[in-house]
Amino acid sequence: MAGLELKSLYKSYGEVEVIKGVDLSVDHGEFVVFVGPSGCGKSTLLRMIAGLEEITGGELWIGDTLCNAVEPRDRGIAMVFQSYALYPHMTVYENMGFGLKLAKTPKDVRDAKIREAARILQMENLLERKPGQLSGGQRQRVAIGRAIVRKPEVFLFDEPLSNLDAALRVDMRMELSKLHDELGSTMIYVTHDQVEAMTLADKIVVLNGGVVQQVGSPIELYQRPANLFVAGFIGSPKMNFAPVNVDRVEGTSVTISGKDIAAMTLEIPLNAVQAGDVLTIGVRPHDLVPSPSGAIVGRIGLIERLGNETNVNIELPSGASWLAVLDGDQALQRGASLIMNLDRAKIAVFDAGGQAVTAEKPLA
């Protein structure tokens, strides 16, 4: 049984601070995904947990042990690398048994564990091959098998699927999900692909610039993003944004309008905004509905007809471009104008600092 506790972790390379104070707690058996743009420090954070990077500041607890100075082999972790990192000179069987052999596990126990892992991953027929004779997907399987054999408390994955082609990636995603159910271990998974994050995670940690932006379940992040960054990063296609002004505040009814948006009234918590504030509203492409009496008018740009839905680019008066995903197949004319309504309950509102407007602001 091992959860994880990260207490204000810092990492710097010389002058450059890469991880800037990460607090996170992971329960036993959770599937946690670190997601964020490339270079935001996901791998660094994972490697700090693995023990491959020294921790500059803060505490790392795995289970009940403070692990800052514990050797990787004693942390109860296993890691799967993006490039698989299989030992090219060993067979699949030897690759999977390498860790056990180093730990001087008796031969029969080792053999049983390797065969068990091979059975779980359905690759008993590959055991005698060398990595060079395997396809990308098979190598990935072996890398995962090598991790399973160690029976770790915590699995660490660093973008394990990004070297695979799209179809295989979807398959492996499902297998990983199944594997998590089967083994019940804690898994920490790094990816820059928010779809992978949404589909796999119990809990997503969104990172940007070495700072945690938001932690929550996939749906929480989708429905209630904490700031503009998370709103723009989670969800595909991306959320549309537009700046608006606050015209009038009457209790919780707030009237807003902007260059692209006709005046409309939203429900916003008491005292969160004041008349004259500049806000940003965010609308998901799926929440836009054509309607003769909508708040948004734009010119139709590129149209993608996918059959089950239609993606429409709309140029707004300010020059901003929004994307709407309309149900079914819609026969639309490029260059025509389109009026759309928004589902008010689903509009996300952000203050000038980019934070979601939710809690009450203290009265000035």
């Binding site: 693995a50 023990g51 491959l52 990787p72 082999r73 972790i77 296993a78 890691m79 690398f81 993006q82 490039s83 698989y84 990192a85 299989l86 030992y87 090219p88 000179h89 390498f98 860790g99 180093l102 730990a103 990595p131 060079g132 190598r139 090598r146 160690r150």
Partner: protein
């Protein structure tokens, strides 16, 4: 005509190689078959009769079987030096490539210096005398290791930089200690370079003439190259025996080449590492 136009350059190249490499070798072998009188003419003629066996017996038994002692000495010298070179060269190359510290620049400078600056013989002899290693085989082994190390390190380091670091890290996570990482993961992957190093260094050390001459004086210590002196003197040289001796001591390097040649080529073409 077009045939000639197409291949004349290749033909010239082959002809030049034959003249440069095979003619001297043929001369050596032919002379080894001759009797002293014909050999002393030093001409490129067919031997009048076969005196090879007699020459061999004389060469081997000269000066109380010195050639046999020399072969034993040279074998010990070569095997020990090459083994140490491979192990230390690979280790230094590994650490130098993987661990970046402030000392790296200095170490690389020293390696290059070792490659370029000619060794100073007299101070080296003083040093060896000071630590009681002068005139001893293991002293010479250390000398050969020291002289060969820079080249070996450079070869290894270049190759190690093509082995992804994630491989080391995977091994560390699997519980490998530093020596496990090196001996169980890295060293086996270095086989192609190791073969190259074995061939290059063992031939160089086996054929080394000057270092044994300086640092390992004495008949009991002779290495094979020094046995060539047995048949040369200022006034009279037994060319038939000299060339027989050359033929005999050329055989081991030749075997090494024939044995490893395929492996060098195979190792190079396999590229071998990406997993």
């Amino acid at each position: 005509m077009s045939f000639i136009r197409k291949y004349w350059l290749s033909a010239v190249a082959i002809l030049v190689s034959v003249v440069v490499f095979l003619v001297p070798f043929a001369f050596i072998v032919l002379t080894a078959f001759k009797d002293p009188k014909q050999a002393s003419l030093l001409d490129f003629s067919w031997p009048q009769g076969n005196y090879l066996w007699g020459n061999i017996v004389e060469v081997v038994t000269t000066r109380n079987w010195m050639l046999v002692t020399a072969f034993v000495n040279s074998s010990i010298l070569t095997v020990a030096s090459v083994a140490l070179l491979v192990i230390f060269g690979a280790m230094v190359g590994f650490v130098l490539q993987r661990r970046k510290t402030r000392l790296n620049g200095l170490i690389e400078f020293l390696i290059l210096a070792g490659l370029m600056i000619p060794p100073a013989v007299v101070p080296t002899i003083w040093l060896l005398q000071g630590i009681q290693l002068f005139g001893r085989l293991h002293g010479l082994i250390l000398i050969e290791v020291a002289y060969g190390l820079p080249f070996t390190i450079l070869l290894y380091r270049a190759f190690i930089s093509t082995i992804p670091r994630e491989l080391d890290e995977a091994a560390i996570i699997d519980g490998a200690r530093p020596f496990d990482v090196f001996f169980k993961v890295i060293l086996p992957l270095l086989w192609p370079v190791t073969v190259t190093n074995i061939v290059v260094q063992s031939v160089a050390i086996f054929n080394d003439f000057t270092n044994p001459l300086y640092y390992l004086p004495g008949n009991a210590n002779a290495t094979v190259q020094l046995t060539l002196y047995n048949f040369q003197s200022q006034f009279n040289t037994s060319y038939n025996l000299l060339f027989t001796n050359i033929v005999l001591i050329t055989i081991p390097p030749l075997i090494v080449f024939l044995f490893f040649n395929r492996q060098i080529v195979a190792g190079m073409t396999a590229g071998a590492v990406k997993g």
